[in-house]
Symmetry: C2
Subunit: 580 residues, 2 copies
């Protein structure tokens, strides 16, 4: 867009739309607090300094003016909110731009799911730029609605649905030279290629870098982060509801604040509760400062640095020609957001969004609204043959997404291996829903926190098929049936009763509720789950990772047990104990 | 280019081409000196660390390994060398990439001149990226071979001749909203738009920024530089043969080295003598450090920062996946370059280029090789009418390109106004050559340093028509005739004798000599000029700016006198003294 028509306003010949007066503002170019008026016309900053006339004068003496925050990496679907509802929750925290990887919905609804996210993001007081999902399915052990191929990625980039390549999680595919992975890198080479490479180091990191990947958000130690910074990657410091690396990585920035030009704060996965508790990117700024990072360096990681990294030349700082995406904060240390302007328009005040962003009904999506046959009690039975002496069991540890592979003797009832609360042994079922086959896989969980009944969810990374853990088959049948009835959601059941349920009709992942209602609903789910001995949110999140084949070790997908470190599928029952 | 085929080398499965061992290298990402081996295959850095095997091991214990230097803004034509000869002179100083604005040859030879520069730059051990000339002609008072229009710029960008927009010198055209200027900005909006805005500040600077201009190399004071940095421009700190701003601007960086991420060192105009004396970008690093800039911050302004600014993602640092453009320097403080590698190949050692880069004969160019009619003695006469009481005279001050407008009584001889050594009044002539019309314009210079004879040159910014200053008509006729015979060059004449001459056949601007021969030739010119009381190089450079209409005040182009501050053309003779 040519800004030529704004010249008379920049040149003080005509009155602007608004002037932010008495403004102290954060200048991320020179890393200083400046005091000057900021003049805005048609959503663009047209001048900084004295002498601008305007239709409206906005007094900023209460706080510090900062550029709208930029979220460098997240999955909107993980908030269980649609882009509209997410915007309503995030914008009051000063967020004005989000780089999102829609790979959850890409698993459940394919290309059309990605386009759905883009469509749902139009007209919001928040710019959401989508990364083309690079790893759908996450592995050959998972069943997405459809594979996102290199051609598909090229299409999403070409038609403007996506602007960059979403996290390249298949890091071995990169450094081992997998053809399809490199095709994806090749079609994305003129965009920003974002990474995901936990623990990748040395020669493997070099190989990963040859692929053109330029960032990583999986660093959990200083050592790992420093190596990646040294080799030229942008470091995404993740502070999400699930993984929290900020406290471990912030000391790098505290000790050498110059690194703020190479670091972005990101969320990855966040929940409405997490946002309500500590904000969004403003929370990252606050927490970085608490860790000793100089305030302006902390601010840069959520504004100018992500703008530079993602080549968003029209934002990230307060300067003539940039978008008037602004937030007024009480201070950088508190980072309480008083007012938010998007393209010069006031869009949030005192923590409240001003526009009505109640999510509307969503359009029909492929992979959803199919009639998925859920298992009968009989189909859930695991009948043992004469040689089935042992069962493989997913060993769960508190608050971990990695698991162990346990081989145990089954608890047998009527010739079937069954759940056993006394042994903390739950049954797990996965029902393929993305393609509507209803294919059923069964397994066991050791130490998954549930005392009786069942919990089920259609949020189950990465393929997000219907996933259920329970202590009896009837409860599981009830939970899965309810899930199918809702075409996706979260269910707590006990016997033939549904204790609580939440519909997630948008892609089987997102509710049509706003953040407040969603939080209420999630509180009901939590209470119901607790009533069956399952510590709500945390357990549900843990369940949602029990199908993710790319995190070791034993996982259950609709294709059965798999262990990516052991090279593939694993049996449910065994004759003998495995040799050590 | 996909780097997939380099994976076996990165992964240490196959021996690389070369490993730089015992290397201390400058890491511009983390701003530290690292010690590690650097492995290279097919011109690309494939790994950093231990354990790489290679066909060749290069011991780096003598110095510090740095990324090849990147020149952020210069005009190759100003060196009077072709790209080949310039490469031979610059590469031994560690330069590996140059961002060049070919607007000199664009004036003399049009679009074809720009393409000529690009062609002549192919296959060199130096990457020269050209900016599309944004201001040809510099003003309507100058006569280039052809105008470079917005369409022409779009064509140069589309066909790969140019990668960015060359310095937008018409800053009033930007902030006053000139249609053609904004068309040029519009067609360049997806590239880097470089600037040139001396003294532009406040609201005018805001207007200039709305045009999308993102840098400036014309800052001469800290105050000006700081304002432009604050408003989001990249600051190009210029240290050239003509304009030297480094000492004035370096304190900004010395006091806040964080600004090194927003500052580039550039040359603008440099001569072979200047390069021989202090190097190229390595000279900038040395001089910045002398001014108190921390060594790595100084280095960043000539490596990673220009790479980032110009979106050259494949260079600017030493890291896997980057081009193996490297220099070994004795220290950052001295910045003496011991060895230079381009794409992993050793291309210079101990100050000598290893490849034979003797300039070849150049192809025919439009605007050159025309038979230009030069004036006869009679045509050079300035006959006075009965009312012609006064003459306008360009008032020259030592080492300044700005001039004054003087109105003086003429020295009259045979009814003609003539040069007068006793009054330090020289005659000036400009002969249009780019279009071959031979159109002649005459004027006077006060205080131009010449005692007798004449000097003439086809280097005369920006249109580069034939320009001559002399104390008698015969010498001027001789000088201009020799210039036309050579189809461009530099001439010193006395009476009917050519005392010295230098041919500049490439575009009328560049010699076909290498740096050493060119320096010898220029020494001859200097000696000859001194013999007629003209202090060589400096006077010639001053003469070359006496036609540049966009620098105030009075200038002489082939269209006659003009004064851009007084609104246009000016008469040679006057009836009365102008009213004050």
């Amino acid at each position: 867009m040519s800004l030529k028509n704004l010249l008379p306003y920049a040149m003080k010949e005509k009155p602007c739309d608004a002037v932010f007066t008495n403004a102290e503002f954060a200048n991320l170019y020179t890393m200083e607090i400046e005091r000057a008026d900021v003049a805005v016309k048609d959503g663009i900053i047209v001048g900084i300094g004295e002498g601008y006339e305007a239709a409206e004068y906005i007094d900023c003496s209460d706080g510090l003016l900062v550029p709208g925050f930029i979220e460098g990496h997240m999955h909107v679907e993980s908030t269980m909110m649609t882009p509209r509802a997410f915007a309503a929750a995030a914008v009051p925290h000063g967020t004005s731009t989000v780089m999102a990887d829609p790979h959850e919905i890409a698993n459940t609804c394919g290309m059309e799911g990605v386009r759905f996210m883009k469509r749902e993001s139009e007209g919001l007081p928040l710019d959401i730029f989508y990364g083309a999902p690079s790893c759908v399915p996450a592995s050959c052990f998972e069943t997405p609605f459809e594979e996102i191929t290199a051609e598909g990625i090229a299409e999403l980039l070409a038609d403007g649905t996506c602007t960059h390549l979403g996290e390249m999680m298949n890091f071995p595919g990169v450094y081992l030279g997998d053809d399809e992975v490199w095709k994806k890198l090749e079609v994305s080479k003129d965009t920003v290629i974002t990474g995901h490479a936990p623990g990748v180091s040395g020669a493997q990191l070099s190989g990963y870098l040859l692929g053109g990947v330029t960032s990583d958000h999986e660093c959990s130690t200083r050592k790992e982060a420093l190596e990646k910074l040294r080799r030229g990657m942008h470091l995404m410091i993740r502070q999400g509801a699930a993984a929290r690396n900020l406290k471990d990585l912030a000391p790098l920035l505290a000790e050498d604040p110059r690194l703020c030009v190479r670091c972005l704060a990101v969320s990855d996965d966040i929940t409405p509760a997490f946002m309500r508790e500590r904000g969004h990117m403003n929370g990252c700024v606050r927490e970085l400062i608490e860790c000793g990072v100089p305030p302006l360096a902390a601010l840069r990681t959520t504004t100018l640095t992500p703008a530079e990294y993602f080549r968003l030349y029209d934002r990230g700082a307060i300067a003539p020609g940039k978008r008037a995406d602004l937030a007024l904060v009480d201070s950088l240390e508190n980072c309480r957001v008083l007012c938010v302007w998007k393209g010069g328009k006031l869009v949030a005040q005192d923590g409240k969004i001003l526009e009505n962003l109640a999510p509307a009904a969503v359009s029909e999506l492929p992979g959803i609204h199919k009639t998925v046959a859920t298992p009968t009690p009989d189909e859930l039975k695991i009948k043992l043959g004469p040689d089935d002496k042992y069962i493989n069991v997913i060993g769960v540890a508190p608050r971990q997404f990695t698991t162990e592979t346990l081989t145990l003797e089954p608890t047998v009832e009527g010739g079937c291996a069954c759940a056993d609360p006394s042994r903390r042994l739950a049954k797990m079922a996965v029902v393929e829903k993305n393609r509507g086959t209803g294919r059923l896989a069964l397994g066991f969980l050791q130490n998954f926190p549930i005392a009786r009944g069942a919990v089920a969810s259609s949020v189950a990374h990465d393929a997000h098929n219907y996933t259920c853990a329970g202590m009896d088959d009837l409860s599981m049948v009830t939970a899965l049936r309810e899930l199918a009835r809702m075409h996706g959601g979260v269910v707590v059941a006990d016997g033939d009763k549904v204790l609580a349920s939440l519909e997630l009709p948008a892609g089987g992942l997102m509710s049509l509720l706003g953040a407040d209602e969603l939080l209420e609903k999630l509180a009901e789910i939590r209470a119901a789950a607790e009533s069956i001995g399952c510590p709500g949110t945390e357990a549900m999140m843990q369940l949602s990772f029990m199908s993710l084949s790319v995190i070791p070790k034993l996982k259950l997908t609709d294709q059965g047990y798999c262990d990516i470190t052991a090279g593939g599928t694993q049996p449910l029952t065994l004759k003998d104990l495995p040799k050590k």
